[in-house]
Symmetry: D3
Subunit: 228 residues, 6 copies
Amino acid sequence: MRKITIVKNYLKHAEGSCMFSLGETKVLCVATVEEKVPPFMEADKKEQGWITAEYSMMPRSCPTRISRKKLQNGRAQEISRLVGRSLRACVDLEKLGKRTITIDCDVIRADGGTRTASINGGFIALVLALKKLQKAKLIDSLPLKGFLGAISVGFVENKMVLDLSAKEDNVADIDMNVVMLDNGDLVEVQGTAEGHTFSRKALDKMLDSAKTGITKIINAQKKSLGKI
Amino acid sequence: MRKITIVKNYLKHAEGSCMFSLGETKVLCVATVEEKVPPFMEADKKEQGWITAEYSMMPRSCPTRISRKKLQNGRAQEISRLVGRSLRACVDLEKLGKRTITIDCDVIRADGGTRTASINGGFIALVLALKKLQKAKLIDSLPLKGFLGAISVGFVENKMVLDLSAKEDNVADIDMNVVMLDNGDLVEVQGTAEGHTFSRKALDKMLDSAKTGITKIINAQKKSLGKI
Amino acid sequence: MRKITIVKNYLKHAEGSCMFSLGETKVLCVATVEEKVPPFMEADKKEQGWITAEYSMMPRSCPTRISRKKLQNGRAQEISRLVGRSLRACVDLEKLGKRTITIDCDVIRADGGTRTASINGGFIALVLALKKLQKAKLIDSLPLKGFLGAISVGFVENKMVLDLSAKEDNVADIDMNVVMLDNGDLVEVQGTAEGHTFSRKALDKMLDSAKTGITKIINAQKKSLGKI
Amino acid sequence: MRKITIVKNYLKHAEGSCMFSLGETKVLCVATVEEKVPPFMEADKKEQGWITAEYSMMPRSCPTRISRKKLQNGRAQEISRLVGRSLRACVDLEKLGKRTITIDCDVIRADGGTRTASINGGFIALVLALKKLQKAKLIDSLPLKGFLGAISVGFVENKMVLDLSAKEDNVADIDMNVVMLDNGDLVEVQGTAEGHTFSRKALDKMLDSAKTGITKIINAQKKSLGKI
Amino acid sequence: MRKITIVKNYLKHAEGSCMFSLGETKVLCVATVEEKVPPFMEADKKEQGWITAEYSMMPRSCPTRISRKKLQNGRAQEISRLVGRSLRACVDLEKLGKRTITIDCDVIRADGGTRTASINGGFIALVLALKKLQKAKLIDSLPLKGFLGAISVGFVENKMVLDLSAKEDNVADIDMNVVMLDNGDLVEVQGTAEGHTFSRKALDKMLDSAKTGITKIINAQKKSLGKI
Amino acid sequence: MRKITIVKNYLKHAEGSCMFSLGETKVLCVATVEEKVPPFMEADKKEQGWITAEYSMMPRSCPTRISRKKLQNGRAQEISRLVGRSLRACVDLEKLGKRTITIDCDVIRADGGTRTASINGGFIALVLALKKLQKAKLIDSLPLKGFLGAISVGFVENKMVLDLSAKEDNVADIDMNVVMLDNGDLVEVQGTAEGHTFSRKALDKMLDSAKTGITKIINAQKKSLGKI
């Protein structure tokens, strides 16, 4: 597994922020708190909050420059939805109150694992924003179900690899992203075999390995954030 | 599990087509063959074909009408990518030759499971198109790795449910989509716990159930398509 | 004239719907009722309802696939406006009350005459929706001025042809679409000579022929809908 | 009928141009010649030219300002198509040769009849551009089938009105646009009864009146252009 | 300096308008008054008005036709912002009251200096609209700080040129636009050296020359508008 | 003047990059070299290169979050054009050869002066990319006319301020951006008086002050880049 680096409060004026690095992958995760909920929630008249995420590559985050018009493509929207869903899974939205936290995940440098780095760094930004709300006495306690970590795992030439780099990802037969709470409960399992297939046995092996990786991630988060 | 209905060759002028129903869910799946590959494949100079999919709800496929401007949203793009990836996994792209098959999946009526219905019906349209290519002697044999089926499975009030309807899906704690070949190999596993989490044990149980469901789907496909 | 097929209530959950076929042309027409009027009517403070239509080809409705981005082109907008205007002409909007009925006309298969099929099928969907409103006691009687039918007529190699197929339409010197009430009053007359011109005499002949065709269309509508 | 004013060569650098006024309605019509044909004609490998038109209101052409984003709406596209089709009907595209003439019709002031003013002024701009091509010996003779004129006619409170102003148009029960060659042959007939219907007899009366009006228009064109 | 022509009230139905020509450059400037302010001003709760401008080329304003899709490009937006800012600088927005004046500047013909012509003509349209407000007793006096003029000045082959034509502009080493009040105070100074640089001395020389030019412009405005 | 910090080669895989900070303002500037020129240059058949820039705020670079859809607004396009023009002014495009260098300037944090920081940091990224080209022997020498620096200067409550922060910028009566070579020659002068005006004397004072500031900027660039 690659080296984890967490720089908390990278943007001092934001409610929560962190520069999260996983090896050469570097994602700026920033939390914005707004005292309103999206229209569809207003319509539902539910007394709860909302957490959403927006993921975007930066134009030169990759070896080849990507045109700004192509940054908000289908892949980016798919990852935005995954990050938002994952972060919502670890928060009690009713206790959050009628407010929205938006997590912007901008990929400064992409070397594989940008979606898991976004979830991991997004969690840090989210917790920092929640702490700020608590400090301002807008919420009593942190409405969290636990720490949340994510990792990718796959098979490259029949060998299992945890936390794939871009180079490994490009040649991987299978690629799985796993999101987990610190109690071991699963939040998301997305196993994809681009041009290949995989057995139940391989799935099990990957899930075991992912658990080990996520434990390391969550330990780094705990070290950075302290008790929550 | 809900009733499966397959109407082959729904659009006689298309290379392959099928109206696929799963209970009240109804998806029109149409295959178009073009004798060219996308620009990114041309650039790679690979001697192989491509399979892609486009998924879209129709404006009044749901109880409430959706504005046409909102049909191509992030969710639709995410499902388009899933359907395309799944169909590519069961085809030998090199044997397909330098041509593109586009599978349009238009949801006439949505009552849960539209993405799995799109994969199941899309597979039928794809095979019909491949058969047409074979008949025209453009390919020697069908470049298929096997039959491909997909099903959703989830937990509703702590009870496992296979093939969720819209009503069940809305209250499900966990929702998993599984794509599998007829030999039992996995193609995609997408487990999502919107606002909840799930244990490894629940995951295993859902995978077992999905296998049973997909077997039924593939049997229906086999009955409709004959030998491939 | 080609064979007319009407499948009422194709989408049971919609307020009104019908699959309308004219030979190989097949259009899904669906009516949605909303208890509000568009902003420009709100501004006018008129106490009346509104009827609007949206026409769209489906990607593989034609022999060649059309990219989804090109479906909402100028031609589609022109036809949407024609269908909406025609349907408004046969309804007493004041009696309809402050509600909007949107008629979605999605062309499943195009073989000429898709705009007239949209008007004919759209009328069925509209009436079914109005009947539903009447049954729910939201309106007293059906606010209709009569049955509404539409047909195309043209000249191919100096020979008049009623209800042109795509093949005929492509070589037609003149193409006219006529919309009429069952009492013979005209609603729309759109005669177009792409690259040609036509005499008053030819116009008269075409109008006579159109009347015969529309009578057949309206008879089929009456058979399907019963008394209105 | 309102006063016709034609200012030829309003933009000296364009291949053809004219400021055409019909009462208070004022449209700037400009012809651009390009030595290429659109992609769909290239694909057809036809040895002929193309004529197309683009119609647009200007933001403050109406009593109320229109936002620039709303200028290119469905109505504008419908009119663009009508103007282009009408102008193509009076030109022999094969004799034009493989070039495209684009007629831009920008409405400086709208007081009813902007689409017919666009056709009338567009014809002048087109002829001027063709004359320039002839002078440059790129074509031998003007590939024209005759003069082309257009006029609107309708019924206001059961009284027929030729060349409707905006005020009249707003209260008209029926509105018809007629495009005709100077030999009396019809090019386009578009009769619309917004919220009303009209009899065959009324149609005939309007066509007779339109002919008188178009004769006056064409006389003004002849006076401005000389022999063609 | 090229000939200045001002045609006041070109569009009689608009609150203020003027066709402003500077040699072959011709811009239609139209003022629209609306009794509301933009959302960002509403949010600020300031009791003042707003002036904004929209600049656009017309498709055939240049020797080569510009596609309508490319008219609202970065350059047009930059000029719109410059015109709006310049006009705001000469008006007391508090005295204007809570209303918005939008100045549309549509370039009929471009031969260099379209942005300065837009400011000069826009000022005339603005004053005419203010006079209308005064006449309607909506404002007591014209809330103006003075007359406003603009001119371009540059160096072509080491020779200073005032009021550059398109031909001169294309070969100019330096291009400066200056906006000034009639008391000599500066409103905007935009000096640009595309591919070149310029000395402080050259800047001073250009500013002196611009002042002379703007004086002539303002004299023409005074002649057209009378006392303000 | 605020503290200048330059982190060279922030993105090791890019041809040139730098994180440029001016007090709390922080801009990531990245150079991408492509061995092709834009279509308009191909059309001109000039044997020279091109330099272009794209400026964008990041969603949470400001105290309030900006929606991603609003990041590419008129202001951003105006600044992109300014940065590109300024950088082109210091390079000999013929000596650069037929290649394009794109400078992406993404504002991580905005506290005033983001456009000047983009020019200053963009210059560093550009030089690093040129050095890489020289090292790869694609160019003989660095095609530079000198160092390039930019600074803002304005008047706040009648007091001149160099290098305005966001707080100062918001209350400034005048705001001027100056771009200069190290030999003192001017590249861009953009003086703007939002709602105010300024005298020639004030302009002169600001230009003097800007020169002092730019000298400091260029000294920092020289320290970071060494000899060029």
